[in-house]
Subunit: 423 residues, 4 copies
Amino acid sequence: MATSEEVVFDDTASESLSARFQRVRSSTIYLCRSLKPEDFVVQSMPDVSPTKWHLAHVTWFFEHFVLEPNLPHYKVFREEFNYLFNSYYYSVGPMHLRPQRGLLSRPSVTTITDYREHVDNAVLKLLALKGDDPQLAFLIELGLNHENQHQELLLTDIKHVFSCNPLKPAVNPEAPQPPVRSLAEHRFVDGVSGLQRVGADGNGDSFVFDNETPQHETHVYPHRLGSRLITNGEYLQFIEDGGYKNAQLWLSDGWATINERNWGRPLYWNQDLDAEFTIAGEQVLDVNAPVAHVSYYEADAFARWADARLPTESEWELAAREKPVAGNLAEADYWQPAAAAKDQHQLYGDVWEWTSSSYAPYPGFKPLDGSLGEYNGKFMCSQMSVRGGSCVSATDHIRATYRSFFYPDARWQYLGIRLAKDA
Amino acid sequence: MATSEEVVFDDTASESLSARFQRVRSSTIYLCRSLKPEDFVVQSMPDVSPTKWHLAHVTWFFEHFVLEPNLPHYKVFREEFNYLFNSYYYSVGPMHLRPQRGLLSRPSVTTITDYREHVDNAVLKLLALKGDDPQLAFLIELGLNHENQHQELLLTDIKHVFSCNPLKPAVNPEAPQPPVRSLAEHRFVDGVSGLQRVGADGNGDSFVFDNETPQHETHVYPHRLGSRLITNGEYLQFIEDGGYKNAQLWLSDGWATINERNWGRPLYWNQDLDAEFTIAGEQVLDVNAPVAHVSYYEADAFARWADARLPTESEWELAAREKPVAGNLAEADYWQPAAAAKDQHQLYGDVWEWTSSSYAPYPGFKPLDGSLGEYNGKFMCSQMSVRGGSCVSATDHIRATYRSFFYPDARWQYLGIRLAKDA
Amino acid sequence: MATSEEVVFDDTASESLSARFQRVRSSTIYLCRSLKPEDFVVQSMPDVSPTKWHLAHVTWFFEHFVLEPNLPHYKVFREEFNYLFNSYYYSVGPMHLRPQRGLLSRPSVTTITDYREHVDNAVLKLLALKGDDPQLAFLIELGLNHENQHQELLLTDIKHVFSCNPLKPAVNPEAPQPPVRSLAEHRFVDGVSGLQRVGADGNGDSFVFDNETPQHETHVYPHRLGSRLITNGEYLQFIEDGGYKNAQLWLSDGWATINERNWGRPLYWNQDLDAEFTIAGEQVLDVNAPVAHVSYYEADAFARWADARLPTESEWELAAREKPVAGNLAEADYWQPAAAAKDQHQLYGDVWEWTSSSYAPYPGFKPLDGSLGEYNGKFMCSQMSVRGGSCVSATDHIRATYRSFFYPDARWQYLGIRLAKDA
Amino acid sequence: MATSEEVVFDDTASESLSARFQRVRSSTIYLCRSLKPEDFVVQSMPDVSPTKWHLAHVTWFFEHFVLEPNLPHYKVFREEFNYLFNSYYYSVGPMHLRPQRGLLSRPSVTTITDYREHVDNAVLKLLALKGDDPQLAFLIELGLNHENQHQELLLTDIKHVFSCNPLKPAVNPEAPQPPVRSLAEHRFVDGVSGLQRVGADGNGDSFVFDNETPQHETHVYPHRLGSRLITNGEYLQFIEDGGYKNAQLWLSDGWATINERNWGRPLYWNQDLDAEFTIAGEQVLDVNAPVAHVSYYEADAFARWADARLPTESEWELAAREKPVAGNLAEADYWQPAAAAKDQHQLYGDVWEWTSSSYAPYPGFKPLDGSLGEYNGKFMCSQMSVRGGSCVSATDHIRATYRSFFYPDARWQYLGIRLAKDA
């Protein structure tokens, strides 16, 4: 579908919003460059959305939240799309049920491509008209960050779809393989503690989500953090030591989950524990690469087995905030975690790192007004905060204060493990 | 996908097996002529298979049962297809699970088209080599009858897929509409009774399935049969008379089913009871056309409400066997039941007619040898026999002794109602 | 609970209806003689009802169908019981949901015992008043046959409840053990064939259920029937020969069922295949006793493995109707199948015999009028006819024309296997 | 079952451990004084355990953790009870599945009473031998606190069982009704903020659970707390204002839950919203009594509707710790929340108060050694902390640092609402 050959990811501070809009929008198409029309349709489980749905939903977001309220005489592309491509904004109106997204063979990929063009043209026209309006700029920036999130989901979702196919097709057969490296030393490094300010101030200098605010004080106990992520090889030791058979290592919900679902290894490992399904098809397991696609339960059990624990959100953020956002992120084009180079901390990229903090509002949290208030706040229950982005996160989308969140049984995202200890 | 413009259905007694093979195989492609690649992928419920799966499965049937044992040096198109496209022949080997057929975006439609050509060429080559072998001719004829069955399923399945889409797309937007006719009189006509021979003798003169044999004697009580099918308008009266609210009309399983699934009308009727979803999209309900897409439970309850009953298999067969196989069948291209013309009995075509007979082996029944013995026999439990073919059955596939069968809760096929009474 | 020491089962042709009423009613209590109050409460699966519920439901049947319409000034024991103890008579009114019968700790066993006495006294009073009324006599006889059916269910249900308890308690710790006998020869014996009359004429000479009528003609093909039931030892050979692993032996639904539910042996056998749970607790498996607690699927697969088939209803009935109703029935007090003595046909008692006939209305069948029409007719779909009664059936309740019926996956009843073959 | 007439609850600081043991153990029996044997058996949902199971499980706890390791020559009452009455201590061994506890009619209530006596005598003997051993004293104290917890569960569980019975029986027909009072004023009161120490130091002066430790510092933002609990009348306003219909008030999981389960009012309210099912049967709704039996989702939505939020654990604890543990607790014998008297804060008793804090380990948390480490720690995921005890909590079991926890969809406990606001 995508034909663009140039490298589409490239952030520049001086980039205009129009340029950025075009860059982010076209990079979404670039991600689909190896897919056939049939691939855009399938939903392999309720958490997964069809590729086609992602392409349309992010477009609807611009149409509904940016164009309809702001562009005079804007004509919606097709009325039914408000029903089909609303994800979870109840205050906007009723919507197609999430688990049934895979029932829709229509609209076709071609129609959705037309939809994207229709909306893109209108947004660019709007930017030409009112590009200086800061509220509009915020909405467009929100839409682009939203699209960044769905770029990541699009890849993790189609990876899941392909993993369910006995033919084991590759999402990107030409993806470069991550570098092979010897095992980097793992140490526990002292963290920042005491009364600390965390979170983002949301003063508008740069984009943050509402859930990162307000900046606030928290008391952090002395602790140490793992110097890099846990590797496949280390996780293999946990398995071989009977980790999945030892109830005392597990949270009660975790023990129930691994037994009910018959889990005994990370999501995409093969039965022989020597290969894993990747964006490039099934590949030999790199024992020095970070383990990925483990649930919170597995991360927590591994940490207990290792006589350690998972870090809190604050511990992670305090370690990350002085470091530049760099690492194995989407632009590296591996879309697969990579072994740490010597002294590489891996705080950004590779895998989202499970924290021991449940995803909750910061003291004094206020969601956005109106329907956009449904963006983040209503998920603040029963999910765990994860930090740092993954190998399919866009670099300019990630920062130290960024909070993502998943249910403790989620595994289809690139989710991995960093250890912590009380000092 | 299909490009053929000529009329592909046309049976001639003198047609060679090669010609018939090419005609039936190409007619399958003809059925898909309005579909887009995305449409071939979706499975809307476990009973439904993706269009793509039908195209490949019938081809695998020829490859596995005809080519592999008979064509020297035949090279299978792709080994994995034996796993992906085996439907239910356990003795052949393990297979992809039925409810997961919709997870497969690959092989693509293009690859499956290539697969069909590969197999078609090989079968034609085999026919050129050994066309006189009666056992081979039987296997190919079985394969073609099998393909006929899947042509029907392909259409009912894609109709179901499209019915789940809020956009309500048409499978065939150019399908001609059935003729509008005034209501034909409904009478009860005396049937044939006494000790009668029914079933097919299977002497090889013409193709029959094993489940139609052996021909055998049965004692038939005096009875009368409805002169035509029950119409939408008559079914509407049943609804308006509170038919779905009156437990005494229903079998126990039926009452449980309609309450659990919230059924109050035929599958494809709209809530206002004035339109139904058809192959040509949503259309005004033709009150004089036969009611379709009702379960056995609904057919049985309607009959009780009408102070009648459903016919037995034998009663139906004795009425049908002197009549030519003609009616609103697939070649009419309506793919939708049509109102009866004056004195038109509608025994063939329009809708499969629910009988009160459970699908069971005839006395002395012997299934085919080997894996093909799994074709029919293993379904002889908990299903009801249906007779007469429907508006999507190929004419040369249907006959008086033909038995199809569905679970009593099935509705996605063209299933309708003829009444009977004790004389 | 019951303390009666006398033998309560004993039928005499000259017995008055009052005497018979008292005998049947008291025999129900006799069955519960070893139970504690806690035992009367539990429902181990939706098919099973608590003992207490059986005791009350059969009483409600007399109250609702006999007393309320016939005894002037009769005062119902408690209004709510019409809701709690109606089983499935929708036309009588709404009812407590079947799967929730085990949620009711109240009314207590004591209250239900009071209820029984209240109704018994009223029925005896009514009999004294109007004992000559044939319609009333029919209703009471229906109520007693209904109670006979629930006596059997009461025992099979509490057996199931106790089987779910790791303590494996005995329903009747003092039950005598069936006699140990050497294996009786198994032969195939010619059956009656040709055009035959089967069913009951229902002329009122003796009680029959509506589903046994009308007597009618049917054409029976030449066949032979097994001279006795299939034994545990024979079934063991089927298992050891890989019967549960060979898909070709099974109906499609059967194969799905045994795999989904992980069935590899009869319901109450232990894993070592050398003991079974009985009314008297776990006992060594008697290899010469009839196999029991197998589903239709298992009976059918066994027959196919044995190169035979199951008999039809008519074949069974024609063999049984010349023989006296005698065998290992409830009065023997074993409540467990017993090895056949030399030349013992075992047609009556031991186990209900699966037939290959689906449970369907006979030609010209008319259900009883009113709510009692719901007794049998509405179950005539998707179930299989079984014949001959079991080791927990009362002798005077069983006859050659008697039809019971179960879904093909039922196993908690005493259900077993007799073979047949085409002649 | 219980016949004791004396008041069994009565705490004295100077009470010996033997005396306290006897008092707590006998008070459990006292709670069951109105139950019949049948009532002890039923499990109405997986969260609920049969009364009988509670009586045996708490006894097993003493047998396994106190007697077996400490009393020389102790003979277990019955080996199988280790399997039947282990709740969730995987490291102890396999156990009967929780959702199947209601399948066990045996052991009978009488046997379990014998079991209790057997264990009680042995514990008293052990106390006479080694009463001075502080580790033993701790274990017994732990067992008694454990029994206190199950006393509460026993009552909430049997209340749920009875609520499922259309007869609506009363757990305690003679329970006194709580006092009727006019509505107390609701104000927001300043809370303690800044860097604060919370939690228990666990120095052994008095019993605390491991999850209350270690005492630690936390930064608390300025806030205000509601002066009393939210009442039924206030909750009624929320309902009448369309609270259950307004998606914007709800967490995403909450909205899904109330729609899937069709929730529109607290668990035990009737459809007319004017009565609720209580320990004393159905009673007129006291609009000034605290609302109870609401989930976290409902508490959170109510708070949002009221333009407030729920308190954090720390906020609650800082408010409660200076106040004596007094209020409507179990000893009041109401077993039902009561309207607040003037200026009554209701922090202790009436209902457990949902906090906005997920149940998580305190910084530096260490679970107990061995199997007892499974007591609390393994539940620290996906549950919310609740505080303050309820109307069925024993007074000497509750304290300011006490943490209980439930899943956000739990309603069968006495769970209610206190509001908080940022200052």
